[in-house]
């Protein structure tokens, strides 16, 4: 290696011989940074895997704007991106309050540190609540779909204004067929059979409903010129014969938005990130109490606030990338 030396020594023995800080940072701070590097590589692995799966199915992957279009107290409005943009702002703002706490710590201003840390904790909780709300909407679903024998998802649309197609919910056109399935109880049942929860409609009800509503068309997953392909009426009636499941919302097996991996990756990556936010909030709470107790005043150093701040900023950084690759790109 070339003979590059640090400013503190002329021989390597002095710099790396122990008893000082070769990289200019304390042990705790350096280790927090190295932990952050390892965790960043973990998340990069997850996001790279998401990219890999998405590229494999690039032609049929769900369009994010169509899936994430809810906003609180605005039920029924198509609001793509707004809510997740709000979540990004909340996390960025909590990062700002965190760095202001660190700054106050450098000036040994205990009350200021406490106030800013409290704001950061509140911001973290708001973010977690928002993410939970996103999950709830994602799991509940909006319009419903059917899954074919081959595992493809078929959604339903009708022609709307100015040439665009608007989504049609299953409830709007499903027929009601009398069912012969009966739930028996212990008094009149003979044998117990376990079965998965039934969807609200059966495949036959959807098929009959489609036949009875001539304006409803099938929309496939395939992306043609940046939009999902809509079949003609004849093609729709032919395709619906392949349906084997009614899919409402999302679980770990299938989802109404499209490819099975879409929901899997959404839950996995945002779940991992949410878990990191949660652990960050918990650690922040611990340090907040230590600030109040005067632990760092006694130590004459608020470096712990700085270290915990590094973790919090890392969590924000991961969100910035998750936001880009799940919602924007």
């Amino acid at each position: 290696m070339a003979a590059t030396v640090t400013s503190t020594a002329t021989t390597t023995g002095k710099t790396w011989g122990g008893g000082n800080e070769p990289m200019g940072a304390s042990y705790g701070k350096m280790m927090m940074w190295f932990f952050i590097v390892s965790d960043a590589l973990t998340f990069s692995g997850f996001l790279a895997a998401y990219g890999f799966s998405r590229f494999k199915f690039i032609e049929t992957w769900p369009i994010a704007d169509e899936v994430f279009n809810h906003f609180p107290f605005m039920h029924g409005t198509d609001a793509p991106m707004y809510y997740v943009a709000l979540m990004t702002f909340i996390l960025i703002f909590s990062s700002v309050t965190m760095v202001l706490a660190v700054d106050a710590g450098h000036h040994l201003k205990k009350t200021k540190v406490a106030i800013y840390m409290l704001l950061t904790i509140v911001g973290g909780f708001i973010f977690l609540g928002s993410q939970a709300w996103e999950w709830k909407n994602f799991i509940k679903g909006e319009f419903g779909a059917v899954e074919t024998k081959g595992g493809a998802i078929l959604q339903f649309v009708r022609a709307g204004e100015n040439g665009k197609y608007e989504r049609v919910a299953l409830a709007e056109f499903a027929a009601h067929l009398p069912t012969t399935r009966v739930d028996k109880v212990r008094s009149n049942g003979i044998w117990f059979e376990e079965n998965a929860a039934l969807p609200t409609y059966s495949v036959e009800e959807i098929q009959e409903g489609l036949k009875a509503h001539p304006e409803v068309l099938v929309r496939t997953e395939k992306i043609v010129k940046k939009h999902k392909e809509v079949l003609t009426r004849e093609q729709s009636l032919a395709r619906i014969a392949d349906a084997v499941y009614v899919v409402e919302g999302a679980n770990l097996v299938r989802n109404e938005y499209g490819h099975k991996l879409f929901a899997n990756f959404f839950f996995f990556i945002t779940g991992f990130h949410g878990f990191h936010v949660f652990s960050g909030v918990m650690i922040n709470i611990l340090i907040f109490f230590n600030v109040l107790l005067g632990t760092y005043e006694k130590r004459r150093s608020y470096e712990m606030v700085e270290k915990v701040g590094l973790y919090w900023h890392f969590v924000d950084l991961v969100w910035v990338f998750v936001f880009t690759f799940f919602y924007l790109v």
Partner: protein, 116 residues
């Protein structure tokens, strides 16, 4: 700690403003998706996506340099953090996306629809 912090709050708010501005721009592009960006390609990805990725890296730079205070650290520490991340992530993403593209082509053009 050998740095003085007279008026760091000003820089913090400036960076916050910058990050908010970049986010607003990203979200606006994400909602509007102007056709001239969405339909043009560079290295097999449309320009809109390139803008998103570049803006995200700019945000990451500001968060790491200003908020995580890497700008005040020694360059050896900075490099020990940035260099592994950059080369490992770029390498992994490069090989995985090429592989994903290849698998898509096989699914799209051959009789294989699943494992091959």
């Amino acid at each position: 700690m050998a740095h003085s912090h007279e008026s760091n709050t000003k820089r913090i708010w400036v960076v916050f403003g910058l990050l908010s501005l970049i986010t607003i721009v990203e979200v606006a592009f994400g909602i509007v998706k102007p056709a001239f960006l969405h339909d043009s390609h560079l290295f097999q990805m449309n320009l809109l996506n390139w803008i998103f990725i570049i803006l995200t890296i700019v945000k990451a730079y500001y968060i790491m340099w200003a908020f995580m205070h890497l700008e005040g650290e020694k360059s050896s520490l900075r490099w020990s953090i940035v260099a592994p991340l950059v080369f490992l992530i770029i390498y992994l993403v490069f090989i995985l996306l090429i592989e994903g593209n290849y698998v898509f082509d096989v699914f799209h053009t051959s009789h294989y629809k699943w494992i091959f």
